[in-house]
């Protein structure tokens, strides 16, 4: 008989001893601990057989270095395999130590290798030597470029032209570094792409809870409700998709509203294909059902909605009691019946009822999510997330397991070594006065605002951003960028050629995901984690004992990383400290010298990340070495409903309280190392800061809104001229049938291809081979009416022009609606220069006749000779069609979000029409801009307090309070 007790004790002791050394007791592909990754103790020397040597068994030795993917926003963990013999990158796999992606990646992660070895990438700084857009470039040294740019910026600052300096960022891929650089410069020049992306969604979330992003806990949900054209197939494809599938395996129900049969929709229990723009009507019908049938969480609503404020402001004659509120609530939404929603959406009322019943079974385990899609496509789209969040708020499904959390509670942005001051300027080019409530900058209006003479740019950085291609109305961008009076110096920071870079003065090559430092944290589950992107070859060399100066020494060619670039540029702008910039980029360890990235991150990891020093010490490492070794750290998890946490007594000093229970204190705020963005509710009249809210006699932390509660009724909207939409309502879209002609159809242009990501992945050959075209989805009934079949050319006519594309006839889209992915249609100019991504850029000519532009496709893609033999194997010729150029700007008058949906006419191509042709009249696009501008409610007419914008709303690089004052009010 075996002595099982003895064996058990011996095994337990052996395991404890092994794990104390930081090693894995059950290594290798094993089901015991899902350890199907190289065990971490072998990351310095991992052996695999060389696949290229097959059938011989040749061992390759690798060093595995973690980093994070730079292709989409998820920042999934990657493990780079560095060949120890050659110190070259061989492949990328998932990083099992990353809490968000947990070792799993989508196709875009491993394709980072393609981007590193891309034969067309830009390897040296280039300076324009011909006219803008002529395609004539000369190599230039970093020193010369830095000095030239720094000198120009310094001059502008000395002359008080701070607003002529602008940094325009695409997907940041980092949390706040460059924002702080802009603040250190004292400029209000941070300009993001948010208004062509997520501003609509942000508005809906922020007005409810003071935090502008959702963090759905899909994995633990019982019912998952998505308004999505790409949510789980593009943006957050991997971390969210894997958790949705986990929930489905548990038996959770998935509801997807998507006019098009997306990848997400194919997994749904309920796929609703509504008429575009009707999503809020559907959600309000569900809300109305929950209210009518008393299926909502009444206790949660009573405790956490600002219903008292609603009653006092909207129904001053009524008794302020929850009974009164419930009566009013039912009355407010009684007209949103299933029949009403059916008429708006075209979906059967019985189906909507079934969906509502399913939602009602979720309890507090309802996870809801919308990020672009309908909220980014429709006038009033911000009400899509506002009405969606209302479902969560009705069920009390806020920050409970399986619900939706405000993202700032599931995100960690560590405090850096220095925080700069608030700039003293207000840049009207980013924050025009007509849009006081916009969520982030009106970036896509820039050419129109400059054309109107509202300002000019002396130094304009585009950073991994391609507005000519990505933004609507690209020809207006070309007009602006081509005009040196409007844009004095355009510096394109980019790892690869793009359509905007053609119109730059400098092109500065920046690193890909394996060639740069960044810190990144995203909402993937109820936890806070920090991902560390790092230049992989630099770390590998340092592990081997080399001392590396800066990242250029280990990156390909003269490719640099942005952080070192910004630090160096800042240093050169203010060499003697005269401008007050130098102090933010000076070393603490080596006074008089510039801060370097090692010191920057070392300080953060040692001082601002709770638990990291201890975790590192447990393995005998310093915090920076720990992050270089593992690439990620989970700071905390199971955060739960922060709003329910009592405010400690020491924070309650000389408190004041409003009728609705908002509590203010004189106690100083306790410092937090986490700078995740949240709103900043205002102080009371006597300067006390808001600290909590009294609920049933107890002072709880609440939400970062002015009331401290969930703002069902937004006093901010009411005060700033939008009282008609101060509660969640349905706004009829600009593509509502009543706003369209009978022969028009809705064009959905926002959906993604799961294996591409905007302009960022056209240099990835594996992805290009998978996805290289964007036909127009056309329902069979519409195809029949038009007399076209799959592959036939059609002309799509917008308000300002047209494009010619191939049809793809399918049942996977609603009749009367067409769709075309925006991930295709890349182009390079037929101007004799070879610049461009030859794997996925068509060659085009641009012809201009006054305001009329025409793009003609001269050649498609084909095989070519390069350092990569695979480029001889390119078999595809298509590169898609660039549709965004034909879209006029549609700024939502409240959120500022560009409303992407287009009312179009689809007709058979005319005899002279050619595939890929694009025609636009920019004079017409200016008229459309003016028409949408007329819908706004300006701060001049509606500001309740003489400011340009409610101070409590989130805003990148917040200026000083004085800069918030309206020009007249200032004087």
């Amino acid at each position: 008989m075996t002595d099982t007790r003895k064996l058990n004790e011996r095994l337990s002791a052996a395991r404890a001893e092994t794990e104390a050394r930081g090693e894995t007791f059950y290594p290798g592909p094993s089901r015991i601990h899902l350890a199907s990754f190289p065990p971490k103790e072998r990351w310095d020397d991992w052996v695999e057989l060389d696949s290229k040597a097959w059938p011989k068994r040749v061992e390759k030795r690798y060093m595995l270095v973690p980093t994070t993917c730079f292709n989409c926003e998820s920042a999934c963990g990657l493990l780079a395999y560095v060949d120890k013999e050659t110190l070259e990158l061989r492949k990328f796999e998932g990083n099992p130590e990353h809490p968000g992606s947990r070792g799993r990646n989508c196709a875009k992660g491993p394709a980072t290798l393609n981007q590193v070895t891309d034969p067309d990438r830009i390897l040296e700084p280039l300076k324009r030597v011909g006219g803008r857009g002529e395609g004539k470039w000369a190599r230039v040294g970093w020193e010369e470029a830095l000095d030239d740019i720094a000198d120009r910026i310094r001059t502008a600052m000395r002359e008080g032209r701070h607003n002529e300096i602008m940094y325009h960022v695409g997907r940041p891929g980092e949390d706040g570094f460059t924002e702080r650089i802009m603040a250190a410069w004292g400029v209000d020049g941070h300009n993001s792409h948010t208004n062509v992306c997520s501003a609509g969604a942000r508005a809906g979330y922020e007005l409810w809870c003071g935090i502008d992003r959702p963090s759905p806990d899909h994995a633990r949900a019982e019912v998952i409700f998505l308004v999505s054209s790409h949510l789980e197939t593009g943006h957050y494809f991997n971390p969210h998709a894997q958790r949705i599938i986990e929930a489905k395996q548990r038996g959770a129900k998935l509801i997807v509203l998507d006019t098009r049969l997306s990848n997400t929709a194919t997994h749904a229990d309920f796929w609703l294909a509504p008429r575009p723009g009707s999503e809020a009507a559907i959600q309000l019908a569900i809300a109305s059902y929950l209210i009518r049938e008393r299926l909502y969480n009444r206790e949660f609503v009573r405790r956490w909605w600002n219903w008292e404020e609603y009653l006092r402001r909207v129904h001053p004659g009524l008794e302020v009691s929850f009974d009164s509120f419930e009566r009013m609530l039912e009355a407010e939404y009684e007209s949103y019946t299933f029949e009403f929603a059916a008429a708006e959406s075209g979906i059967d009322a019985d189906v909507l009822r079934q969906v509502a019943e399913t939602v009602s079974t979720a309890g507090t385990r309802l996870s809801t999510h919308n990020w672009r899609s309908a909220s980014a496509s429709n006038e009033g789209g911000w009400q899509v997330t506002r009405t969606m969040f209302m479902l969560s708020a009705l069920l009390g499904a806020i920050a409970t397991p399986g619900s939706t959390y405000p993202n700032a509670w599931n995100k960690f942005v560590p405090r850096p070594i220095r925080l700069p001051r608030h700039p003293e300027t207000w840049n009207d080019l980013n924050w025009p006065i007509e849009y006081p409530l916009s969520m982030y900058e009106l970036s896509f209006l820039l050419p129109h605002l400059v054309r109107e003479g509202r300002g000019r740019l002396d130094v304009y950085f585009t950073r991994v951003y391609n507005p000519v291609w990505t933004n609507p109305d690209g020809f207006s961008w070309i007009e602006m960028l081509s005009d040196e009076e409007k844009v004095g110096l355009h510096v394109a920071l980019t790892p690869t050629w793009n359509e905007t870079a053609y119109f730059a003065d400098y092109i500065l090559p920046m690193g890909n995901g394996a060639e740069r430092h960044d810190l990144h944290s995203y909402e993937t589950h109820d936890a806070q984690w920090l991902g560390f992107r790092q230049p992989v070859l630099r770390t590998a060399r340092e592990r081997l004992g080399e001392r590396v100066g800066d990242t250029r020494h280990t990156n390909p060619g003269e490719v640099w990383e942005e952080n070192e670039f910004w630090l160096e540029l800042s240093w050169r702008i203010d060499p003697d400290g005269e401008l007050g910039i130098r102090e933010f980029v000076e070393s603490e360890e080596r006074p008089g010298e510039r801060l370097n990235v090692d010191e920057y991150y070392r300080w953060i990891f040692e001082n601002s990340v709770p638990g990291l020093p201890e975790a590192a010490a447990a393995e005998g490492l310093r915090p920076l070495d720990y992050m270089r070794r593992y690439g990620a750290f989970e700071v905390t998890r199971d955060i739960g409903p922060l709003y329910e946490r009592p405010v400690p007594d020491e924070e309650l000093e000389d408190i004041a309280e409003t009728d609705e229970g908002r509590v203010y204190t004189r106690a100083a705020a306790t410092g937090t190392p986490n700078l995740a963005p949240t709103a900043a509710p205002p102080a009371d009249a006597e300067g006390r800061r808001p600290v909590g809210v009294r609920i049933d006699g107890e002072i709880l932390r609440g939400f970062p809104t002015p009331s401290g509660k969930l703002e069902f009724y937004s006093p901010t909207l009411a005060a700033w001229g939008w009282d008609d939409v101060a509660i969640p309502t349905y706004i009829k879209s600009h593509v509502h049938p009543q706003n369209m002609d009978e022969d028009q159809m809705v064009l959905i242009s926002t959906f993604r291809l799961p294996t591409q990501i905007h302009t960022r992945s056209a240099n990835a050959k594996w992805l290009d081979e998978i996805s290289h075209t964007n036909p127009l989805w056309l329902h069979t009934s519409d195809a029949s009416r038009l007399g076209v079949g799959t592959g036939d050319l059609v002309r799509v006519e917008t308000e300002i022009g047209h494009f010619v594309v191939k049809a793809w006839v399918t049942e996977g889209i609603r009749p009367g609606v067409v769709a075309c992915s925006h991930h295709m249609g890349r182009w390079k100019l037929d101007n004799g220069s070879a610049e461009g991504q030859r794997q996925l850029m068509a060659t085009v000519s641009l012809d201009r006749d006054d305001s009329r532009w025409k793009m003609s496709r001269k050649a498609g893609v084909g095989p070519f000779d390069s350092s990569d033999p695979d480029t001889r194997r390119i078999w595809w010729t298509d590169a898609g069609v660039h549709q965004n150029m034909t879209f006029p700007v549609h700024p939502d008058p409240l959120s500022g979000m560009h409303c992407w949906h287009q009312a179009v006419r689809v007709v058979k191509a005319a005899p002279g029409d050619r595939y890929g042709e694009v025609a636009v009249d920019t004079r017409r696009s200016a008229e459309v801009f003016e028409a949408w501008l007329a819908k706004t409610r300006s701060a001049v007419d509606n500001s309740p307090d003489g400011t340009r914008r409610p101070g409590w709303l989130i805003r990148p690089v917040k200026p000083t309070a004085a800069a918030y004052r309206l020009p007249d009010a200032k004087s």
Partner: protein, 297 residues
Amino acid sequence: MELMRALGALSEPPSDQTAELCRLLEIERPPAEGEYETAFLFQLYPYASVYLGAEGQIGGEARDRIAGFWRALDLVPPVAPDHLALMLGLYARLVELEESAGAERAQRGWRQARAAFFWEHLASWLPVYLIRMVEIGGRTYAAWAEILLDTLRGEVERLGPPARPPLHLREAPPFDDPRHATDEAPARAFLGQLSSPVRTGFVLVASDLHRAAAELELGLRAGERRFVLEALLSQDAAAALGWLAGFAGASTRRIERPQLEAFEPTRRFWIERCRASAALLGELAADARPASGQGAT
């Protein structure tokens, strides 16, 4: 309960850690080359559904039931929840959860889950699986099977007998008499049932069929078990069925050994199934014999 977890790890393909685990478990030597493959890939597949499923194959309702247990614990079932390594890993975790539970009520709950998993999903098939592994697993895996069997017996002592037999066994379909078959392809169904331990009560593996072919002097056609069985039956049905009846009888005696007495009432189920199979196969063999005087030509 690291012992369970380590034993589970040994049912995985050998890794660098295997030798160390063998040493810690006092197994004489790590597996020789090919020993793992012979034991687990060609003979005794380490998946519960093979032994508990009506089809004798990986997956199906038996696997779903095991996945259901994961779900009941609010865990996401893995792709193959019935793999022995995972099952022993989960059991080890349940033991740890019980031992670390602070409140008595929570502890009771975990004990209940542990006992349910043990009797429903481990003790329902592992004893008959392991006694076969002791026979044919080679030195390393025979020793491994002995340790696991002893470990399971120790658990029976701790947990006590179940209130009633496991659902897998209560709902197991019988070994149908092919003479009363209504299937469209009765021969195929019969072959399938012969490969399903939970129907027949015996665990018939590839090496058994090789032995049968040798003893009966029949041609052995290489292939999976149904294919080999079909070849044997097509050559001499009476002899093959007679051999199978004898195998069922031997299996009965194997399970009747005192070594498995602890595992009542599951042991009773397997003995009864074996006996019934032996009787049925004996009858079928008799039916298949040619009438007196008419020898095979």
